[in-house]
Amino acid sequence: MRDGNLLAVLIVLPFLGSLLAALMTPMARNAEAWLSGLVALAAFVVAASFYPHVTGGGVVKQTIEWIPALGLSFTLRMDGFAWMFSMLITGIGLLVVVYARYYMSPKDPVARFYAFLLAFMGAMQGLVIAGNLILLAVFWELTSVFSFLLIGYWHHNQNARDGARMALTLTGTGGLCLLVGLILIGHIVGSYDLDAVLASGDAIRSNPLYVPVLLLVLAGALTKSAQFPFHFWLPNAMAAPTPVSAYLHSATMVKAGVFLLTRFWPVLSGTPEWFNLVGIAGLATLLLGAYFAIFQQDLKGLLAYSTISHLGLITSLLSFGSPLAAVAAIFHMANHATFKASLFMAAGIIDHEAGTRDMRKLSGLFSFMPITATLAMVASAAMGGVPLLNGFLSKEMFFAEALEQHRLSLLDSAAPYIATLAGAFAVTYSARFIYTVFFGPKPVDLPQEPHEPPLLMRLPVALLVIACVVVGVIPAVSIGPFLDTAVTAVLGDRTPAYSLVVWHGFTTPLIMSMIALVAGLALYAALHRYLASSEEGAPFFRRFKGQRIFERILVTVSWRWARAVEAVVATRRLQPQVRLIVVAAILAGFWAMWGEGNLMPRLTVHGLDPVLGSLWAIGGVCAVSAAIMAKYQRLAALILMSGTGLVTCLSFVWLSAPDLAVTQLLVEIVTTVLILLGLRWLPKRDKAVAEAIDTATRLRRHRDFAIALVAGFGIAALAYFAMLTPRPPSVGDFYLKHSYAEAGGTNVVNVILVDFRGFDTMFEIVVLAIVALTVFALLRRFRPAEDNAEAPYQQREQDEFDSVRRDREVGETLKDYLLVPSIIMRWMFPVIVVLAVYLLLRGHDQPGGGFAAGIAMATGFLLQYLAGGARWVEERLRILPVRWIGVGLLTSVATGLGSLAFGYPFLTSYFQYTPIPYIGKMPTASAMLFDLGVFSLVVGATVLMLIAIAHQSLRIRARPRKPAEGEGA
């Protein structure tokens, strides 16, 4: 058996190509087409090279274990059937790429187009060669997603957006159902491996879960293949560029549904449920699709409904459950892909050259584009099932199978009649396509003068049409062996004997074909006049718009019901929400503690520390006063809050947490300054003009007070009892033991942060960076409220004072403000920098570290702003906080990656003691480098936030003079 490594190439190659295509200049049409073409060609060649290994029932497999414990692996599996699809996907993909080069307008950003197209190719390829059910579902959803992007490619067009959304909603929902179905199958079989599943058909069919599995899998397959009653998304998807329609909506994506049905045909088919569900869906789609197709005025609409009908034909064949029918189904998949892709491309050419797809306007184009017309006519004849073309062969097989008695039921007896009627309809719309567009009088008022397209645009159509003819005339030689390979892969031992010949003699199917041909032409003759000017859509049925119903449902569910539910159970007001959360938390706490009374130690005042006690008496008073004053006395509340923070900090010192104390103290400074900067933008609130308090408000306050009290008591009790319970063995002991021995640091807290749990710290600093950037972004377009727009009252008063005094200039008082302290602050800068460096360097062994050092450094910058004002600082010192953040992130990630280079896991640290002259032995651990990254990031983030807020005052005042300036802070 062949080494399967090349299988991954089939998937990786298109995705890689997609990435490259996306990176190119948007308008590089030729480069994009060359790239995509080469990728498709390479994938085609690779896929083709598998043929010798899959013929005769061979299977090529490649497995990369992912989570073996859960049965998840990245298994790729190519058999004959998947091979046939791979050839269609890459082959038609190649033709579509060539075609699209000429179809897309120079104004279209083709980079996006080709990137999506290639990514879709990769997803589709993955879908057909996935060897694991979950992997299959993943690729299934990926095709839905890329199809969404491709349908919505012209996103300025409302129809494209609607069509894309509808396709995604339907196929995405179907995909979710499919996923559940596949998980159920995996549950029944005990493995997600496709081979194991295919080998346990009996177990699945006899399982009580069979019906749910079948329903869920069908929900996926029928939505994807646009089967009744989910067919309506496909005509709406015609808003996509025509190459997309030719590729996705004829040859590949919609085939995914029938591909899946065929894949699981050996496992799921043969039961009455299968026959009835699939059969009804298939026959209904076959008939309705063909009927609707007759009445379309849009060329692509006609083709879309025809596609639906042909997919219905395939589904019907699969429903019969007989091996011969399966052969016919597989054969028709290939045939339909060839003639329908060519027809879509032809329709695109007509649209491109004549400027319209409306069949009421198109007429007599044969004389303008004879070659294209001939090609389209041949393909159209194949679609209608005319002998000597490939469509005829598989349709005859279908007729023959429809005649067979499969399962005694009304549906089975009706099948031949439905088949013949649908066949007649197919002849009608095919004839209509040919006659209306290419014959009749010369067209009047077309948007542009039609002519033949460039040769290369026509070439893909020509190649596909040649394939139709060759297969139609000499089927056994041309497609026979390949079909046999595909069929054997699906049916295995059950592969029936069948003959691919054009002439079977005067059989019933042939007579049915003749009836269909004559009746179809007669029907067209009868309808000809009506169709020339009728509305879009079939009479009577055009009132039932699937799209309308779909949108009605969507609006009802996502808007009306959601609003109704919201009105009952939800609120948009913050306070009730917070209240609910708090109450829920309190209840959860009590629930957990309920009945654990015997665990609680007795409350004692023994060992009450008087100093700590009085410290917290101050802290508690500060906290409560802050709570009371936060409404009217903001500044006082801020100062009181800082008081509490200071007491917290002192407690940390007291209770053996020097690192926390240092960090808390520094953070306290920065927080206070930050909030001070923000105070200016808040509205004035005067206690004297406080609004009258009504009873409801008073009640609400009492209730909130009670909640706060209960919460406080609860958490205090919880903390108290937890603290008095002996400490269970902690992971901390491990860190204590190994901190010095293995990480070379004596400050265990710091070692935990930068070494043992370095990964956590890395994400912590990422959070910090994100917050800083968010703050920056939020303030970029900040507009203050009207009453805050002018300079603050104090400043105006100072300026007024200056203007009255003759010896002073305006602004001088402001400049002299805090003159002596500000000079001291300026001189403090180097001192603080040294302190920060000191904190950073000693962090590994003594209290300190990157966080504390970073904030200390930021405080240094901050003091300069306080001392000199933003302008003064920025004239002298260019701080680029975003760079600091970037450097910090890169340093810490690079440190982590560094250990990979030495063959250790990510973020493994290394240390040694390096002697430094005059200073002595310095601990140098790679963790220090990591800490340096933390330091740099913390500096950047803190400074970025502070400067962003501080700059608002500048911007507002600068605006009247220089409106252009001041966007970035």
Binding site: G607, S656, I675, W681, G712, A722, V749, D760
Partner: protein
């Protein structure tokens, strides 16, 4: 010692909870800051309270783990301090921007 810290956590939480139930954004910011003190103290206290036992080793093996306070809660709180600073900053800016956009400092963006 435990009683004091537990009472402190209780008072801080009660003040914080009261404030986050208030309608003005500034009250919310102060309330969240007070709550974060309480939560930090709470997490810290889960390592049990010890005096004169900082987790700073003297560099001579072997280590007697009973001589030191549990370092893990401290490491957790250290990052929590920095992160709560970040969230306070974020809330403050959201407050300012919302005030600029809606003209009010009510938490719902409109009075009433």
């Amino acid at each position: 010692m435990e009683l004091v810290i537990a009472a402190a956590i209780g008072v801080l939480s009660a003040s914080g909870v009261w404030l986050i139930l208030r309608p003005r954004t500034y009250q919310l910011v102060i309330g969240l800051a007070l709550l974060s003190y309480a939560v930090n103290l709470f997490i810290f206290s889960m390592g049990r309270l010890r005096v004169n036992a900082p987790p700073v080793l003297d560099g001579s093996a072997p280590v007697d783990v009973t001589a030191y306070i549990d370092p893990v809660p401290q490491a957790l709180v250290l990052t929590a301090i920095v992160i709560s600073f970040a969230t306070t900053a974020l809330f403050l800016v959201v407050l300012i921007v919302s005030r600029g956009m809606t003209g009010t400092d009510h938490v719902d963006g409109r009075e009433g």
